[in-house]
Every structure is written in C-alpha cells, then in structure tokens.
Amino acid sequence: MTINETIDQLIREFNQFDDWMDKYNYLIEMGRSVPLIDETQKTDSNLIAGCQSRVWLSSEYKDGIIYFTADSDAVITKGIAYLLIRVFSGHTPTEIVEAETTFLDKIGLKEHLSPTRSNGLLSMVKQIKLYAFAYQVKEKNS
C-alpha cells in the first residue's frame, strides 16, 4: 500500500466515528494493544523529548526500505504514534521525504501536532522526515 493509500484508509476509518469520545476510545485501544517498540530500543538516544509525554522512535534501514517503531508513556500519544508508523513505515526514503504530513488534520487530530502540545508527536514527524532525508543522502552517496 502506498503512503497515500494508507492515509485514505485512515481517513475512512476515522470517518466512521461521529463522536470524539469514540475516536479517542479507538486511539486508546490502539495505544494499548499494539506492541510498538522493543524495550531495548527505549534508549535516551531514541527518546524524543516533549514536556507532556515522551516518545521513543527507532528506525531500521533494510534493502532500500525504512522501518519505524515507536512508543510513548502516554496511551493517546502511543495511539497516534501508531497511526504515524502505519503511514510512514515500510517505505523508501524518497517516498517518505515527499509524503504530506497533514493527514492528522483530516482525521480531527490536528491539535496533537501543535507545538504547544509538546507531546513529542510533532518532533516525531520531523524526526521521521529527518531519518528519511538522511537515508536518501546516504543512498545517493553509496
């Protein structure tokens, strides 16, 4: 599935919720049930500091594809981190660099990417893009 196809799928998934509470219930379910990151990857170097919640992001580059895993100490943040992983993980550096990042607006979670939230998610998106950019540069130079 391409990045845009995943985004469209997410939008469809979230459109079925009329009530904000259902949306958060879904995120909380996701945040709870999905094992996102290996405990050994919860290192300080993988930690994205936010003063509200903490996010760990780890990346692996294999055969031209970047795989991301992430976690958070807050359940809602972890649920949204899962959405970001679903969209961005398993793609080439170029696909990720060129991908749009405004899809959280479309599913009514825009406020979670605002800098004032400091929940680590905005930094997580930036970090994902940064990893992709770095691997892209590495690819070109190899």
Binding site: M21, N25, A74, I76
Partner: protein
C-alpha cells in the same frame, strides 16, 4: 456552601466576557489561572480606550496627549506602589513581567555584588525563570548556586535554609507561592533569617500578588517581582519592586532612550530610579490595563477574593480525595488555590486530553519546574488552579470528568 451569595459570584463572572464562551460545545471551565488569569472587561476597556483616545509617547512631549499619557502612566506607578505598600513610586520599575524583573536583578545586582566563590540561594520549588537567570549569573561570576530542599509536604526545609546561609551568601531568591504545588512560602521568616546575615532577599511574586494582600515593607523583602497577566491584568507587563537603596546602587542592564540623563559621544550619565531601568518606549497601554486590574481587585476586596479561593481550595481538595486513586502532590499547611494531582495508572497527558475535550482547562506537565519534578520522581502532574470567579459546580464538573477518564482508561 460559602457565605458569599450565588448572585454575587454570578455578577463577578459576568465581568469576565471569556467565561461565557464554550469549548467543544461545552461551557468553559477555566482552571488554569496559575498560567494566566482571565481579564475583566474593565481591563480590556482600559487598553482599547488608551489606543482609541489617549495614545501618545510618554515622558517626551510638551503636547497635550503626551502629557496626559505621562500623567496616567505615572499614576499607575503610584497605584502599584500603594497596592504593595512600597515606600515610594520610584521603587517600582515596569518590566515585561516577572521574568524580565528577575533577569534585571540577576544581571544588575550580580554585576556589582557577586564575586568568585560567592553563593546564591534559591529553592527546589522555583519556576525555571527563577532558576536559570541566577544559574547563569553564577556561571558568569564564578559563584555557586545553593538550593533549599522541600519536605514531603512541599514546604521549604527552613532548617537546611539556615545551614545554607553563610558569609558567602549574596542573595536569597525564592518564590512567594509555588506555581506547581501551591505552597505559600514563609517570606517574612526567610527575610528575617537572611537579613540577620545581611543578605538581601528577592521574591518571585508571579503567583503571589493575585491571591492575597502583599505588603513589601512588612515582608521587608529587598525585591519583589510580579506579572500583571497573573493578576487579571494584561500580558506583556509587570514590574519589579526594589528597595531604593539597592536600585540606586545597581547598574542598568538595558540601555537606550528614556533611561539616560545626559548623552555625549564621550560618555553617558543615567537617569534617576526607576527610569534608569526603563530603557525605550514603555508598554503604556498595558500599564493602563494593569492600573484597571488593580482597581478591579481593590473593588472586589481581598476578603472576597481570599474567602472564595480558600473555599474552592478546601472543596476541591476534599472532592478530589474522595476519588479513588487520586494523589495530591503538595500538601503544605499554607496553600494557595493551586492543586497538583495524579490519577493512579493514568498518564497526566492522557487525562488532560480527555478533560480538555469536556471543556475544562487544566494544565498538564512539569509546569516549568523540572528540577522539582525530578526530586518528586515524576514527569509531571495535572494541575487545577482556581480563581475567585470559579465555582463549586465547576469543581464538580472536574470530578465528573476525572470519573470519565478513569472509566475510559480502566
């Protein structure tokens, strides 16, 4: 119920236009007053009236408007001085807020009086803005920062404070009220102990001025900093009270127009206090707003304000403790209406996100007191900070919201 009739509380609420708005379709419950308080119409009107009718630069012109603006500006200085019982209006320096007042003293005082090997005492409870300026001053001068610890209740450990005070101490800088725990610190006692060693005391009054009367001469503190926006006034204005004897001895740290007496290319002599600390065109409109805020608070009276806030503090504390799994962080015997708490097993960010969607504004996180959080061994808290315009019904809504959070994350 509190003794104040419901109709009086409703009429006070009507003074604050924002309190009638809705958030996510629900009536706003504003419990983030320690971050900033809401503004009564009188303050908003004072600012817009200044720009509509009275705008002119102060201290500069012979023309009518400039004189009028200067008069009104200096009247507010007198009003602030009377409000905190300063010895003279010249002891009031207008700043952008408490942070700028702290920076002013941390630079200007330390430049003249802090030397290699000296010490500055702060406390664990301090907001970052009453830590970093002193830390950097110490780095600049080769001095050391000493920190008063807190007891389990969140009170300053006065015994350790006594031990920290010594001949090398050059300043004690503490908050009047902790923005995170609500602890009201024993300023008069701290001042007495520090003065017995001839050490001046700087009080960060950002949370102090809105909750009860402050008399700087009675406290005998040497400096007192405040922000208008935390006392129902506008953002971007505040002030520093400094004893004239200290202000006279300190060098200005910002230079420019207004603060000079005579300028030649060879040298410059400075204006008298407080003007030597007020370089550039001041924020006149917001000074007008600050004046209106003081008038408003005095109109309400401290009796009304403190009895409302004490009632809300007591009521909210009781109701929170009825909820299973709630821990209140900060249980000092003297507290302002600021309550930090945790819900067992639920991250404060998760709880805060849901509570926000129910129209209730609480603060979550470290509240700009990371060293305190480290010592308490937590990453943050939920904080409900109340003002006289809040109601018991609003506290009930918070409790209901907490129950919903508990069900959702159960």
């Amino acid at each position: 119920m509190s003794e104040i009739p419901e109709s009086k509380i409703q009429s006070v609420r009507n003074d604050f236009p924002i309190l009638s708005r809705t958030i996510y379709g629900k009536p706003l419950v504003y419990f983030d007053n320690a971050a900033t308080t809401q503004k009564p119409r009188a303050v908003i009107d004072a600012i817009s009236n200044y720009y509509l009718n009275d705008n002119a630069n102060v201290h500069r012109g012979v023309h009518y408007l400039s004189q009028q603006a200067t008069g009104a500006f200096e009247d507010v200085r007198k009003k602030v001085a009377a409000f905190i019982n300063a010895g003279s209006p010249s002891e009031i320096v207008f700043t952008r807020g408490a942070t700028e007042a702290i920076n002013l003293v941390a630079w200007s005082y330390c430049e003249s009086f802090l030397n290699v090997g000296d010490e500055i005492i702060i406390s664990v409870l301090e907001h970052h803005s009453n830590i970093v300026p002193w830390q950097v001053a110490c780095e600049r001068k080769g001095a050391h920062l000493k920190v008063i610890p807190v007891t389990l209740d969140g009170e300053l450990d006065m015994e350790v404070f006594g031990q920290l005070l010594n001949d090398r101490t050059k300043m004690v800088a503490v908050s009047h009220i902790s923005n995170t725990l609500g602890t009201i610190n024993p300023i008069a006692g701290i001042v007495a102990m520090a003065h017995s060693k001839n050490v001046p005391v700087f009080v960060d009054g950002a949370q102090g001025l809105s909750h009860g009367p402050v008399d700087v001469q009675e406290l005998d503190c040497d400096f007192y900093a405040f922000s208008a926006h935390k006392m129902y006034g506008p953002m971007g204005i505040g002030g520093l009270y400094g004893k004239a004897s200290w202000l006279e001895l300190m060098q200005p740290y910002q230079l420019g127009g207004e603060m000079i007496e005579k300028v030649t290319f060879a040298n410059t002599s400075y204006n008298e206090i407080p003007y030597k600390f007020e370089a550039g065109t001041p924020n006149v409109a917001d000074v007008m707003g600050l004046g209106a805020a003081i008038d408003y608070l005095q109109g309400l009276g401290w009796n009304f304000i403190t009895s409302r806030e004490n009632d809300l503090l007591k009521y909210a504390t009781t109701r929170l403790l009825e909820v299973e799994g709630i821990t209140i962080i900060g249980t000092a015997s003297k507290k302002a209406a600021i309550i930090s708490f945790l819900i067992d097993g639920i991250h404060f960010f998760d709880a805060g996100t849901i509570i926000d969607h129910l129209g209730i504004a609480v603060r979550t996180g470290s509240h700009c007191t990371q060293p305190l959080m480290d010592i308490l061994g937590i990453n943050g808290t939920l904080r409900a900070s109340m003002a006289f315009y809040n109601t018991r019904q609003e506290v009930d809504k918070l409790i209901d919201a907490i129950h919903r959070v508990k069900t959702l994350f159960a």
